[in-house]
Structures are given as C-alpha cells and as structure tokens.
Amino acid sequence: MEYPQDLLPKNNYKIIQETLNGYSLIRKSPPGEIFDPSTKMIKNEFLVPSNFHNRHFLNWSCNLYGPFKTEYFKYRIISNGLNEYWSEDRAKEPESPVYNDDFKIDEDFGSYFLSISKILFNLKIPYDKYRDGQTDKGLKAVPHLVHCPTLANFWHFEIRWKDNDDKIIAPGKKSAWVKSIYNSVKNAIRQFCKRKPHRSTLTEVPENLYIKI
C-alpha cells in the first residue's frame, strides 16, 4: 500500500504565504450524518470529537482542499514523528511513510468544508477584557490562516487567532475572554461549514505559491 506522494513535502517546496482567497479547507470528522436535522447545523459530536476541547478552536487544524483530496483522509498516520512540523530549511526530504509502520488505512471517515474567504474576511470576533478592576471594551480578535506542513502532509494548515494587540491567543490561556472567543469561533464554524465545497471553489494551487524559484 503506497502513501500518496503528493502529500509529502519536497526539498524545493516553500511555505505558502498568500491568503488563498477562493479556496476551501477540508476537515476530517467521524463517519455518519454530520448535520443535525433540527438545527441544520453540524452536530456537536462531529465538531467536537471526544479527544477535542473547545480551546482547540484557537488552533484549528485543517487541510487545503484541492491538493488535499477527500480520499486522503483514509491514510491515518500512526507514527507520531510524522505529525511533526516540516520546515523549509530541513536538510533531508521526508521519507515516504510505510504501511502498517507509519500509517494505516481507515475508510470510515466523514468530512466537511469551510470557505477560506468566509473565515478570513467575515470573522472579527468582538470581545471585552476584564482586568485589574476595569473592562477594556470594543476589542476584536482576528483569524490567521497559517500554512503548517507536517512531514506527512504538506497541505496542512491551522487557523489561529490574534488578540487586539496583534498577539497570538494561546489556546491554553484560562481567562473568560479567551473562553468567550473560542466558543464564538465554534459558532462561526457552525455557521460556515458545509457538506460540500462551493462549486466555484479553487482547487489548483499555482506552483509559484509553493515551489521555490
């Protein structure tokens, strides 16, 4: 069983810095009917699986749909080392994962999609911050899509959030304002996630965006 070669980072690849407007993100979920018949929104158990806490919405893993095809979810990495981040200055090209040692095949999965434009351009989460006896009002948290390839998946991205002072919000921070933001991000994902990508979504990534010249 061969691992898909187009998932592996190559020596001449670079981190994508562009905003990728027009593209969609795809995320794996447990199998089953992922939308609730009553709310018409994604069911909580698909959005928040058992190993997930709402704080993880502040550092949310996803994949770039197009180069990352839906069927790639069946290649389940079991070797922790392959989930490490890849970097451009890495001397050696990652080796292809080996079936049964590094990955297994798991055909039982679901998936859903998010438009990058909707997330990046429509989402500015308002919040207030209570500190030292006073409340700072009218603050805004903004999302950032960060390309974070792993050794076994070049098309892995993360949505992170910056606070009003342009600092990344650490998911582990235990403050009420942080809790408010990650709960709101969860509602935003409910609002925007879809069963299928929009028909006009882009799927081909120009080589100059990810290959060094």
Binding site: K40, K179, S180, N183
Partner: protein, 186 residues
Amino acid sequence: MKDFRRKGEKLGVESTSKELRSFRAKYGRETKLVNFANESVGTYPYNSKEKIREQLIKSSLLQKMEEDFSRRDRISQENELEVRQSFEQIFEILFPYQPDHLGLEYTNEHTLYIFAKVKAWDIHLETDFEEEVFCTLSVFEADEIALNKSDTVENCLMRLSQVLGESAFPLDEIYTSFPAHDSFSI
C-alpha cells in the same frame, strides 16, 4: 394579519383541523406575547392557529431534546431540569419573533445549542451547564458576526431581546461582556 400557516409549513409543522379542535376545546382565552423586558409585543387568542403552531413547534423541539437526552450520558434530574428551564426561557424570547427556523441540540458536552433564523439574522445560542451556567450568543448578519456575547443566560437573552426588538442592528454597540471574575479552570 400574518399568514401563520405558511410560516408553520416552512418549519415543517402543519396544524390539522383535528389538532385545532382539540386545542380549542382545551384553551379559550387570549394570551399576551411579551419580550424579555415584559413589554407586550403582540397578542393572540389561545384558540388560534398561532397558539397551536407555537405548541406544535415547542413539542417537536422538546421531543428532539428527549431524543438527544437518550443518546447522551445520563445526567442528574437536577441537571435535566436546568436544561429544560433554559430551553423554556430561550423559547419564550425567540418564538414571538416568528423564526423562519428554530432547532435545538442537546450536545455530547452537556450544552444546549439553539439555532434560530429570525429576519436576516442567524442566531447561535449555546448554554454550557458544566461547572457554571455560561452562555455564548453569536448573531450573524449576511455572514458577518454582528453580535457576540458571553455571559449568564439571562444577560444573553436580555441582549438578544433588545436586538430582536430593534429594526436594524446597532453595529456601534457591538460588545461582549463577562461575569465579574476573569478566570476559571477547564
């Protein structure tokens, strides 16, 4: 007079003449619709189709809640009562505004999530019953987040009620507020 029957059809709920007769036999006086501040926003008679529609929608949501309860880990009677009371509070606020869609999910995390579509607004309201009752209200208008608030259920509903009572969203009043403390443990 609004055509409530069409609204009911949108929600997938149709009143039948049998249900109408049964309801009319049971109720016979007028009820007042009030918002969170107890201000009157309308009236309709108990024996009206509107009241039947309300009851049908409410019972279908309660049935959904029962189904969700049965699928989740068992919770105490006290916790279940808390969820039901929260639902009643939220339903009373939302229903008078004739949502085009109203749905609920009792989640695997012991939260009650309610989604409502009212006018141009998509309203997400999630109440977390673990540790302390904490509510997150997010309102989207044309896919932009127009209001975000995390607070007690009562305060979120108060704000929602203000918003629903307004003809347009006061975007300059966007705010999020919190209980006085600023730390909690997860």
